[in-house]
């Protein structure tokens, strides 16, 4: 197992190199930071000075090597736009993203799995039809629409929840969190719900289709024959066997939401990192984008590694050597 983990981390080192190179070149072909940063009335000299100041006048390979050298020294660079160390920028916003994604994930699992299992078990129940209908509509309504609808209903009409922003936070170990703060939590609910809708739909449907296969296996029959409580039958025997696809999608979505939930962050003005990435791409802020992508890749590698380990825990037949 330890070998397996070590080998995986080794592989990801190569991955990070590839990713940073891709992004480096990608940002280069997309737009020219000097063109974006220089003011309207910048002179040629201004532009040249700007390029020189950021090392953008050097050939791209040299820029990349310099960047790599800095990374190895732990220096991820300074934002072109904000003039601040990129790691500061990212970590400043990370908690906001993490907590809202965490809440969404929990909502997705807590609502999705039971609803899915219910519909899997009660195929002919009218409630099942309703769930199926609602989840389909839930995921076919575009995310931004949903967001706006939520705002309209819960903030504008009912005035239950604030429409935008992050609200007050509580500091825990130097990290600002809304989660632990009743007022802060109110601000979190809408964005989290917006992220959660798709998750709930996915989890519901995965759980449902899994249930419809596992429920008919001999071992489920026997487990029923044993007369154990339904809660255990479902919570343990059934759940364990339908969890692999759910874990897979949870892992993928976890990463995706942390990294790229830009629509939600934009509509709700939630100060998360997804928006930082988008802004940085648009503003040609290469250091931020590259550092961000390195971190995100690392995160995905870790999340998927954990998912792989969970597979082996869930299904003892799976073993990694």
């Amino acid at each position: 197992m330890i070998n397996f983990v070590l080998r995986r981390l080794g592989q990801s080192a190569i991955l990070l190199a590839i990713m940073s190179l891709l992004v480096f070149v990608g940002m280069y072909v997309i737009s020219d930071p000097v063109a974006v940063m220089a003011g309207e009335d910048a002179t040629e000299a201004d532009r040249a000075a700007l390029a020189a100041a950021y090392g953008l006048d050097r050939p791209l390979p040299l820029q990349y090597l310099a960047f790599l050298g800095n990374i190895l020294r732990g220096d991820f660079g300074t934002s072109f736009v904000y003039g601040r160390p990129v790691l500061d920028l990212i970590f400043e916003r990370l908690p906001a993203t993490l907590e809202v994604v965490f809440l969404a994930m929990v909502l997705g699992l807590v609502f999705g799995i039971p609803m899915g299992i219910f519909s899997g078990l009660n195929r002919k129940n009218p409630l099942t039809r309703l769930i199926s209908m609602v989840t389909t509509i839930g995921y076919s309504i575009p995310n931004f629409w949903q967001a706006l609808l939520f705002i309209l209903i819960f903030a504008v009409w009912l005035r239950w929840l604030p429409a935008t922003g992050r609200g007050p936070t509580t500091e825990v170990l130097g990290i600002q969190l809304s989660l632990l703060n009743a007022e802060g939590l109110r601000y979190m609910l809408l964005p989290a719900a917006n992220l959660a809708v798709a998750l709930i739909c996915m989890q519901t449907r995965l759980a449902r289709s899994g249930t419809q296969e596992v429920m008919y296996q001999d071992y489920m029959m026997f487990a029923q024959a044993k007369g154990i409580a339904p809660r255990r039958l479902i919570g343990r025997h059934l759940l364990r066997n339908i969890l692999i696809p759910i874990v897979t999608i949870t892992a993928l979505e976890l990463g995706t939401l942390i990294a790229f939930s830009t629509v939600t962050e934009t509509v709700f003005s939630w100060p998360g990192i997804g928006k930082l990435l988008l802004d940085s791409i648009y503003r040609s802020d290469r250091p931020v984008v590259v550092a961000y992508m390195i971190l995100i890749t690392l995160m995905f590698v870790l999340i998927n590694l954990i998912a792989d380990i969970i597979y082996a825990v869930l299904d003892p037949r799976i073993r990694y050597s």
Binding site: R7, Q11, S12, I14, L15, I18, M19, L22, V23, G26, M27, V29, I30, S31, R123, S132, M133, T136, I137, Y139, S140, I141, P142, F144, W145, L148, L152, C201, M202, R205, L206, R208, S209, G210, Q212, E213, M215, Y216, I244, P245, V247, T248, I249, L252, G255, T256, A259, F260, T262, L277, I281, V289, M293, I296, F300, N304, Y311, D315, R317, I318
Partner: protein
């Protein structure tokens, strides 16, 4: 025993339609899909206006509510958008792009993802490692960045959108199939197949695939609606269709700005079409999946 056959000759469609017999909802879904497909296909014949022809558009016709008269005296059934496009026509035309893009992107993403996922399970070792690291790389890569890169290198076009979307989709499918396949791989029927001298490819496609694809199919309708919406984002970035030839997704996202002010038709109409379309696809996909599920092969 004495099942009465109404049609004398069993038609060739019979086996295709078999899963739907006795399932009115699924039949409705199927009919819906056919209607949408026909509508998209024959949009130029049905649509009162060619919304891509700039000569037929006039901003003076903009923002008309449903059933109002346009300057040329014709009535716009579902209203117009800000630049004077007849929403009904725009939706019909937009559906063509969206369906093409979404189905192709999801199809390509599905095929590539499933094949690579199965290959990873089958071969394991370094093949698995390379494929899965490619997955890690792909899922980490932001779609916007990818799209802009494609734009910068290859220029704009629907094919680039399909490519960009398919890249987003394959990785998820590959991981899903692999995860489920890992478990299936350890079961005795695979061992039996191996002993039976059945080649890796056949094991992959006839043994692993049917037993591991279910979650991928579950997520497919979601992927389709996701792709339709994502296409709009990419078009906004300049990668996809020009804004003068809006797709369904683009219509919805453009219409978004008019939701609050009460000009709901601009985004609600295309939005409803999207929802209905996905609903139909979903009902049909669900039925097909249930039909393929050996444990559910009874009328329910």
């Amino acid at each position: 025993m004495s099942a009465i056959k109404l049609s004398a000759e069993p038609s060739r469609l019979d086996p295709l339609l078999a899963p739907f017999r006795h399932y009115p909802a699924a039949i409705a879904g199927l009919v819906g899909i056919v209607i949408f497909a026909l509508a998209a296909l024959f949009a130029p014949l049905i649509a009162p206006q060619n919304p891509f022809d700039q000569n037929q558009l006039d901003i003076m016709n903009g923002l008309l509510s449903p059933m109002s008269e346009m300057m040329d005296g014709r009535v716009s059934l579902l209203g117009t958008d800000a630049v004077g496009r007849d929403i009904l026509s725009a939706v019909l035309y937009g559906m063509r792009t969206s369906l093409l893009v979404a189905l192709l992107a999801v199809g390509i993403g599905l095929v590539i993802g499933v094949v690579l996922g199965l290959l990873a399970v089958m071969r394991g070792g370094w093949v698995d490692a390379i494929i899965m690291r490619a997955v890690d790389l792909t899922v980490s890569f932001p779609g916007v960045l990818l799209a802009l890169m494609l734009l910068a290198v290859f220029g704009s076009g629907v094919d680039k959108v399909i490519l960009a979307l398919a890249i987003g989709i394959w990785a998820q499918n590959a991981r899903m199939v692999r995860a489920v396949g890992l478990s299936e791989m350890k079961k005795d029927y695979i061992a039996a197949a191996r002993i039976g001298g059945i080649g890796d490819l056949r094991i992959m496609f006839h043994f692993l695939l049917p037993n591991a694809i279910s979650p991928v199919l579950v997520l497919m309708p979601m992927a389709i609606s996701g792709a339709i919406v994502a296409e709009a984002t990419l078009s906004f970035l300049g990668v996809g269709v020009p804004i003068t030839e809006p797709s369904l997704g683009l219509l919805i996202s453009n219409g978004n700005d008019y939701l609050l002010s009460g000009r709901w038709w601009i985004s609600v109409v295309p939005g409803l079409v999207l929802v209905l379309m996905v609903l139909c696809i979903n009902v049909v996909a669900d039925r097909l999946r249930d039909h393929a599920n050996p444990y559910l092969q009874v009328r329910g």
